[in-house]
Symmetry: C2
Subunit: 248 residues, 2 copies
DNA sequence: GCCCATCCTTGACGCAGATCAAACTTCCGG
DNA sequence: CCGGAAGTTTGATCTGCGTCAAGGATGGGC
């Protein structure tokens, strides 16, 4: 991950890669300016913990580039990932001063942070931001509920297939259009992180990935690069309706 | 469940039992009046399905009395409960016309419904409603994430203890003050519904409840009435921090 | 080049919880 | 009062995944 670039921060919202998907998506010029006034960028390195559960948290923000995870840990060390944060996803909760989860950077990251107090102030007077935040929160709630089905009722193989199809689908919508036919992407997570997401052990994750490879559902190139020859086949393995995902 | 009462509907918001906890909690008189104009009450019987996943849904609303469940079902019949709706909880999603989950009345229920279109209209011009809805959605998201830890990482015994402690805590905050010491409540769910919530089979639920009873963690009176002699002990069995729940 | 850390894979074995099966309790309708 | 349905309990057995253990790949630092 030796990244030479001194990340040139997009000081200008107009050029921001997440301008039209983040919490600021629906803002007009003047609202954007208000946000601009309370924003600042922060970089995080892969592996770095951004916030510890229980810590004071004086900012909220958006993932600009990179990937982070939201995890809960029990006293005896068992951990469960409860969210995967991708570019444009929102971090933190207005109205709460203490973090409820650990937030960890999985890759090098750039975050666009807002000081919490002014952001909350802005929320109460700027409907565009509040409405967008509501939309995004409802989407996250749907994702969490979809994940409850995965955790509660799916087999290990179905869990892996579900994770792959979610990552694949998101990649597809980001790059091209509809997910279909062949598809290639990189796994942004280690086997252990996948296990934490899926409520499995890393050994089981490894075994099931091997099994899916043996059965031709996926093709691996190294440990991380995945090719899905037939996306419908993968959805089938995930136990999902082949029409895929939630109705909108 | 032979309920004689013809439920006298609280036409008046001022006398509504959920006035200060539902989506209307932060409304002033005039906003309340706007809501009042688009609201209507509906009754449901225990066991009745309120909405089918995939159905058109032309209303949103609040649970006034009674209990409902939100469930997802896979093609082969495996089902997972993804939400438990108690009085004041919100049903439906603004901006979506098709239901994503089955909503089933677990007891006799009264719902305060709003026609969807006018409600969405109102959302965009009434910050008090939009803000309250955001708060409630964030709370639900936290609950869903707490439940992901339960589903993904807890043992059957811990799952049962977690469910009991959640129901107990909610009962306590509804009736008295802080949950502590002795506590009595009724289980609002069948063993099967508990199994669907916990990602278990109903046999395992039954066995673990018996085990908790044998070990003195709970006392049963009939199948449904539960006494918890020592709430901290129950929290301990649930694997939760004894200070209990999310920081606020 | 070699070493070491991190990540991953694979095997052997055991157990928590699923599955299959049967019987009990409660309660409502006739 | 009896019969049957719905819900619950308990037992016997099976199995998917966890646990423990060993070894293989990869890549960065020296």
């Amino acid at each position: 991950m030796l990244n030479q670039q001194t990340p040139t921060l997009p000081r200008d919202c107009g050029a921001c890669p997440i301008r039209h998907r983040a919490v600021c998506a629906q803002c007009e010029a003047e609202e954007l300016e208000q946000l601009d006034r309370i924003k600042y960028y922060r970089n995080f390195e892969a592996g770095q913990t951004i916030v510890w559960s229980g810590d004071q948290m004086d900012f909220v923000g958006s993932v600009v580039t990179g990937i982070a995870t939201l995890t809960q840990t029990m006293e005896d060390g068992r951990t469960q990932m409860v969210g995967l944060l991708l570019p444009s996803d929102f971090v933190g909760r207005p109205g709460r001063s203490v973090a409820a989860y650990d937030v960890v950077a999985t890759s090098d990251m750039v975050m666009c942070c807002f000081r919490k107090k002014p952001f909350e102030q802005l929320l109460s007077v700027t409907p565009a931001v509040a409405q967008r935040l509501l939309q995004m929160t409802l989407d996250e709630l749907d994702a969490a509920r979809e994940w409850m089905l995965v955790l509660g009722r799916k087999t290990a193989r179905e869990k892996i297939a579900s994770l792959l199809s979610i990552i694949g689908r998101r990649n597809a919508t980001l790059n091209l259009g509809a997910p279909a036919g062949k598809m290639v992407f990189d796994l942004p997570l280690t086997r252990e992180a996948m296990a934490d997401y899926l409520g499995l052990t890393l050994e089981t994750v490894s075994r099931q990935i091997s099994a899916l490879r043996r059965d031709g559902v996926i093709v691996l190139e190294g440990k991380r690069r995945v090719t899905v020859p037939d996306f419908d086949r993968l959805l089938d393995e995930a136990g999902d309706d082949s029409d895929g995902g939630l109705p909108v």
